[in-house]
């Protein structure tokens, strides 16, 4: 019951934030030089035509009314039409979000596969050679520009070795997954570095704690102490960190998808910025914000289930 209350309360907390997010996006869109009607008409704009389109788009109404219309449209997933693709933006997003979400999930899996063993190893071998090598590599990985790493991966594994396709998305799920390997790895590296550092420090702290000494002294096998006591406790905050980084990784898709020519939401945003397709930009920004809020909600809720010590407030 307490948990249910907490979930409900946390979900309700999202609503005001999302409301202000829509205000921010609305204000930003109105700050664009030239109103949406003249942007849409471009060179074709004549004073009469402009007035006509402005009336049709409701731009002659007071700002408050305009905002309410904007809000109503957002809530019914009606983001208007894309200027460039001449289809409803929602249709465009529905197709492309699959790419971005698959990329992010695959990257998250890579992060786990890379960082859990390395972070644990570094923590167990504190200050010895493996620790120093892993820590230094993590530090360098954190300073690596993703777009550059992506290009180098393309050059080596795509152009030279031909293990993976050079950009694109393929036509079936087998090809989709194959074409996501390099982008997901590129996306995963920086976050892995962060997680390795976090996990290493946790392992060092936990291994020194009293309950680990106690577990050993009551005669538990070393393997049991490691798997049940050290690893489990060290992982709690690391998993939270991963969940918090998912938002950042979603944002990283903007650059990764552009480098690897993936037809996701991120590359759509960059294209739309250049073609001044503002209805798409606004929809993508709104979608990213909603995704981040939902991911944070799931993190908080599942954290309260995973760690019974977390107080539900």
């Amino acid at each position: 019951m307490e948990q249910l209350n907490y979930i409900l309360k946390r979900t309700l907390q999202i609503i005001p934030v999302l409301f202000f997010v829509t205000i921010l996006i609305f204000v930003m869109m109105r700050l664009i030089p030239g109103d949406p009607a003249s942007v849409m008409l471009g060179d074709k704009a004549t004073p009469e035509l402009l007035k006509q389109v402005q009336a049709r788009m409701g731009l002659d109404k007071p700002y408050l009314v305009q905002y309410l219309i904007f809000l109503r449209n957002l809530l019914s997933f009606d983001f208007g039409n894309s200027l460039l693709y001449v289809v409803p933006v929602s249709q465009l997003l529905a197709k492309r979000i699959v790419v971005t979400l698959t990329l992010t999930i695959m990257a998250a899996i890579f992060v786990i596969v890379i960082s859990f063993p390395l972070g644990y190893l570094a923590g167990r071998k504190k200050d010895r050679l493996p620790d120093q090598i892993i820590r230094t590599s993590a530090l360098v990985a954190l300073s690596m520009p993703q777009f550059w790493l992506g290009i180098l991966c393309l050059l080596l594994f795509g152009l030279k070795l031909r293990w993976f396709p050079v950009g694109g998305w393929g036509s079936d799920w087998g090809e989709h997954l194959r074409s996501l390997v390099l982008p997901a790895f590129t996306e995963a590296l920086a976050t892995s570095a962060l997680m390795i550092r976090n996990l290493r420090n946790n392992v060092v702290d936990v291994a020194r704690s009293d309950y680990v000494d106690f577990a050993r002294s009551k005669g538990l096998k070393e393997s049991v102490v490691r798997s049940r006591h050290i690893v489990r406790n060290a992982l709690i905050s690391t998993v939270t960190l991963l969940a918090l980084r998912i938002g950042g990784m979603l944002g990283g898709a903007v650059i990764i998808e552009t480098v690897f020519a993936l037809p996701g939401v991120g590359s759509l945003m960059v294209q739309s910025v250049f073609s001044r397709d503002y209805s798409v930009v606004q929809a993508v920004v709104f979608m990213f914000a909603s995704l981040v809020l939902v991911v944070n909600l799931i993190t908080d809720v599942s954290y309260s289930f995973l760690d019974p010590r977390v107080k539900l407030e």
Partner: protein
């Protein structure tokens, strides 16, 4: 991150003896200082280091592989890539520092005010923070640049508008602890004004988290600036900014890998330098209390 470890610092003065010993003991600090120093020299005196001009074209030496004359090769206009990378240092370093400096100040001040006054001031500021936290950093920056138009100045404005949130959050939580500390209570009893307590007593003691975070943030800002320039939204070619050079070299990737590879290495070098410096600083500040 290491930045969280120094939250429990009492307001102790820096002990000079300890400072010297940590200087010796912290290899990250030493390596960071050396690397950042090198970056500063490259940024300050690019003309002394690079023999060629970063913009002069040479039709006889197009897409040449690295050689003694052109250690990083030449690009599709016959420009010396080494000269372009060296001259780019100043631009990328400036982006990193300037894009960090303003949010460092505004974010810390907002955190200071929110944490100290609490109540509705805190609520309002934190709700604004929530809104900004809902966006992935790079998405909001790109959206703002989309509105203002591509270019270096608008890139700064975008990062300044978005980057303050982490400083505000960090400083606020520090202030909330510090304002109940004895030295602050004592200052209040002595009748000092809020402004004096905030700036003279609390600020110096909570700033260390901000400073350590800023060292890491320089790397973040430098990478963001280069990323946006790579996308064509920041520094515009032919200006030799590292991200822009990589963007230009991308079309020649299969024939001339060196155009893309070396500016990226420069970013990694500068970034690693600042990360090491940040780690060293956090070591230094952590030992300070013991």
């Amino acid at each position: 991150m290491d930045t969280l470890d120094i939250t429990a610092l009492p307001p102790a003065a820096l002990n000079r003896k300890k400072k010297i010993s940590i200087w010796k003991k912290s290899p990250s600090l030493n390596a960071g200082v050396v690397m950042v120093g090198l970056v500063l020299i490259f940024a300050g005196l690019p003309g002394l280091i690079a023999a060629f001009s970063p913009t002069s074209q040479d039709a006889d030496h197009i897409l040449e592989a690295p050689s003694l004359a052109h250690p990083f090769g030449t690009d599709n206009f016959g420009r010396d890539v080494f000269a372009r990378v060296v001259h780019g240092t100043r631009i990328d370093l400036t982006i990193g520092l300037l894009a960090t400096l303003v949010p460092f100040i505004t974010g810390s001040l907002i955190g200071l005010i929110a944490g100290y006054y609490g109540k509705w001031v805190d609520s309002v500021l934190m709700r604004i923070l929530d809104i900004f936290m809902a966006f992935p950093f790079i998405v909001l920056v790109i959206a703002i640049v989309a509105i203002l138009g591509p270019g270096l100045n608008n890139l700064y404005i975008a990062i300044w508008l978005v980057g303050w949130k982490d400083y505000a959050r960090l400083v606020r939580s520090e202030v909330m602890v510090a304002k109940n500390a004895e030295y602050v209570q004592a200052a209040k009893i002595l009748g000092f004004g809020d402004l004096r307590i905030l700036l003279r007593h609390i600020l110096p003691n909570v700033l260390s988290v901000s400073i350590v975070f800023a060292a890491a943030d320089v790397v973040m800002c430098m990478l963001s600036g280069a990323s946006l320039s790579f996308l064509g939204l920041g520094v515009q070619p032919p200006t030799p900014e590292w991200g822009a050079i990589i963007s230009e070299g991308r079309a020649y990737l299969s024939q001339a890998w060196w155009i893309c590879a070396f500016p990226g290495l420069a970013l990694v070098f500068a970034g690693t330098g600042f990360s090491l410096l940040g780690d060293g600083l956090s070591d230094l500040l952590r030992t300070k209390g013991r």
